[in-house]
Amino acid sequence: MSEPRYEGLVTRAIAFGVDAAAINAVAIAVAGIVALGLSILSVPDSVDTVLLAVGGVLWVLWSVGYFVVFWSTTGQTPGARLMRIMVCRGADGRLLSPRAALLRVVYLTLAAIPLLAGFLTILVDDRRRGVHDMLARTVVVEAVEVIVPEAVPPGPSATPVDARPVPASIDAPRSRSASASGST
């Protein structure tokens, strides 16, 4: 099986930018609605402070949950889908477990702390991995949509199809339990 196409820094940065825009758009909309609601209520300053803290925590949870859910269910965030890339395990090309996705979010944050230096290894690594990819043992590859016939009883009836993203080098649909290859 051929080597998958690993995605580079610019493509991944654009996808991440789209995701950041989506996350913040939702957060701003929710915060705006809550702020409008609170503006007609007279709440003490201490409550304001607590609400700010709660809002901050919710924003972090929302951001982390966004990536964890998308990476562990389809391997693609909306931004990644736009750029036709996906995150998968480097060893076998399977989707990440929720735990592995959570760890990748943590490593991603750590890689960004030293002035984004953790992402520079994408430029020189043979599989275009950032530090967070190396720590989480993941790769970002091109995703192609394959039309996979669903399991149907044999017969002359029409076969329904289901389009799913898979790493570019893999012919079969990928799930956490499916076998995989190509992206090692």
Binding site: G8, V10, T11, L82, M83, L123, V124
Partner: protein
């Protein structure tokens, strides 16, 4: 042959009378008196009355039927087209702005009609139109995304070449 031989004595005077009649008609047609008589007849109330009666009677229906039956209108149109009369009429209508004024008046009348906007709304919300618009929008978005992907891949390759050259590492 036999019949001609029997009627011979009668045919000759009849032909003579006929020719004399035609000669008299020629004289009458050339005379000013008959011309004045026709003028007076046509300007008289009698002529108007005759025309009124004719239009009220079945003759108009009969003429209309004959016009349709013998394709008179089609033949006239064919002749007009063949002679280029229709082209000249169209050119004159366009040159004098008659068509523009007519279109303006029609549009002005249409835009004030409630039925038009109901029709436009019906068409715009029809499944075929909405599906076509959706497909076109999706196709355009796909095209834009494809362009962004292609450029980002080029930028990836360029950035990577520079980085590897700076670190003296072989290209991928």
């Amino acid at each position: 042959m036999e019949r001609r031989r029997l009627l011979g004595p009668v045919m000759w005077p009849a032909r003579l009378v006929g020719e004399a009649g035609l000669a008299a008609l020629d004289v009458a047609l050339a005379s000013r008196v008959l011309e004045q008589a026709v003028d007076r007849t046509l300007t008289s109330s009698l002529a108007r009355h005759a025309i009124d009666r004719a239009f009220q009677g079945p003759i108009v229906d009969a003429i209309a039927k004959d016009v349709v039956r013998y394709h008179v209108v089609e033949r006239v149109i064919d002749e007009l087209l063949a002679e280029g009369v229709a082209d000249r009429i169209v050119e004159r209508v366009l040159a004098e702005g008659i068509a523009d004024r007519a279109v303006d008046r029609v549009l002005a009348g249409l835009t004030t009609r409630e039925e038009l906007w109901v029709l436009v709304e019906e068409v715009a919300s029809s499944p075929a139109v909405t599906e076509a618009v959706t497909q076109q929008t999706a196709g355009f978005a796909d095209q834009v995304a494809g362009g962004v992907r292609a450029r980002s891949h080029n930028a990836d390759a360029w950035l990577e070449r520079k980085a590897r050259r700076a670190l003296r590492r072989p290209a991928r």
